[in-house]
Structure formats: structure tokens, C-alpha cells
Subunit: 200 residues, 2 copies
Amino acid sequence: MVKQQRAARTRESLVRAAAEVFAEEGFVAASIAAISERAGVSPGALNFHFDGKTALARAVEGRAAEAVRSITRAGGGAGRAGDPLGALVDSTYALQRLLVGDVLVRAGFALGADVAHRSRVDLRGQWRLWAEESFGAAARAGQLADRVSARDAARLVVAVTAGLEVLGAVHADGADVHQALTRIWSVVLPGIAAEPQETD
Amino acid sequence: MVKQQRAARTRESLVRAAAEVFAEEGFVAASIAAISERAGVSPGALNFHFDGKTALARAVEGRAAEAVRSITRAGGGAGRAGDPLGALVDSTYALQRLLVGDVLVRAGFALGADVAHRSRVDLRGQWRLWAEESFGAAARAGQLADRVSARDAARLVVAVTAGLEVLGAVHADGADVHQALTRIWSVVLPGIAAEPQETD
């Protein structure tokens, strides 16, 4: 039991160290030596747990996918029942927070765009699907202006979040990215939301 | 004279080969050997013209910057005088076409976001400035809705174009990216443009 706990802790250290090194140096430049050193684990122990760099990258992507699922699953909850548009807006902030604050998520998305690594997990596809479903629900709830297609609005949100990810990676400043998102929603929302209805 | 022409042609082959290898493999994985082989030039000749990989990357970025300037300079021209908003929309298509069709531009932008390379050219900054100037001019020409800030609209366009760059790099399909841009503008434009004025 203690042995299993220790093994789980070692795996966790390795996945986190790999994410840090991938995020800082990219997939190609990341070395097994740098990852095992960062995790405080011998290269032999790393090899016992993971069959090379690609296996580590896939573990990182798996963890990132879980984190994205936890955002989209929370979307329908807490105070946003019957407000799919609000839930979607919330989730864009939640994603940006993870991209800035959680190296597993940041590295997972970066690996998905890395020409040198072949991903099995489609994080961007997972995110796009959530945006499409949310806008679809918003349209059915009468929250979208008639002229706005749910699918096109989802394209816009996916492009914006991917763009902030690139721009955030360059500037690496969470406060800036959060503010940029707020300013962008201030331009986009009035253009896509339905006019408030008179209630009788 | 013939010698100078030959030298210029060799430099051109090297810059283009470097852009191709950077775009395909990223800065770190790109090897001098692969670049010189792609250019059909000996590694010694490469070294005569460029002092290593960073010098080649800077040459690529310089060429990308020229290409972006040619778009933004054309912005005020041909049929778009007095229509800064239309000129900006045109230039987003022109940029996407270059990102898909011109490997120098694609590699230049990718190098600007590559954690392993220190850029001297700020392509994204150059593009952002153009978007801000265009929206500023559009606001002064009465083309923007009153509630829309020119700076925020520019943020939106910069994020969208950076996002399409990432998504386009993954899918590598020019037609898709063009269509995505058209659909995104169909959502964004009605939200930011001023209502057409009655003329008397």
C-alpha cells in the first residue's frame, strides 16, 4: 500500500515535471534527463513508469483533458441553470485561468499544436464541441440574436481562446489575458446576445 | 556582377529553406544540415552567408515583416479610400492568405511564438498596431457603433487572427481558414459596425 502510494507520487512528479519542461522548451528540446532531474527521480525510475517522452506527453494531455472536462461539466451548475450563454462566458474565463495557472493544461494545449508531437487527445476539439453545445442551448433559450448562427459564434470563441493562448504564452501575464478577455467580450456580447425581452 | 547575383540567389534559397524547415519542425529541431540540404547548398556555404540558425531565423522574420507591411500599406489603397473598416477586413483575409500560402510569413509568426527563439521583430505587435490604427480611423469616420472601443475591437481582431493561425497550423487547410474567417466576420461585423445612416 505504501509502495503503491509512493509509485503514484513518483508518477505525479514525473507528469508535472514533464509538463513544465514541455511548456518551457517545447516537445523536441525537452530531454528525458531534464524531466527526471526536475522530478527528482532517476532516469531509470522514469523509464520504469513511462516508455519515453511520447508516453509522458500523452499523460500530460490526458490530465489537461480532465481539467477541461471539469470546466465544461461545471458549466451547467452553480447559478447558471437556464443561462447557457452566461455559463459559456464563465467557462472561457475558467479556461484562461487554467492556461495561465496550471502547467498541465498549458503544456497539454501546446502539445496539441506542436508539429513535432502526434497527439491522441483533441483538446481543441473538446473545447469547440462545448462551445457549440452551449451556443446551441443559448439559441434554444432565446439568448442569441436571430441573425447569429450558434456554430459561427462557437468558431469565434474557439479562435479567440486559441489566440489568447498564443498571445498569453508570449506575454505570460495572467492579469493581462483576463483583462483582454473582458474587453473582447465587451465587444462581442452586445453583438450576439438577443435584445432583452419585455416581460408582461 | 554575376557573382553578386549568384550570392543573392543562394541567400534567398537559404532563407526559404530555413523557413520551410522551421515551419515543419520548429526552431529547436531544425538542423543546419537539413536547411543546407533543402537549399541545395553546402553547410560551408551556409555558414559563409549566415552566422548560424538564429541569423537565419532573423532573416525569415525580417521577410515576414516586409510581407505584413505590404498588406497594411495596401490597406488604404485600391477602392477602400474612406473605408478604413473595409480595408481592415480585407487585410485580415490577406494575412490569412499569406499565413497559408507563404512559408516565410508562416515561419515568421511561428518563430515569434517559439519559446526557444528570441525574436527581434515583433510581427504580432506590428499587426496589432495596424488593427488599432484602422479601427481608430473607422471610429473617426463614423463606421463603428458608439459603444465599441477601437482598442477593444483591435484586441478582438488580433486574438482571432492569432487563433486562426494556431488552428490553421493544425488543420493546414487554406479553404477552411478562409471560410472560418468569413463566418467569424459575419458574427462580429453586425455587432461592431454603426447602423447605416439615412442620407438626405
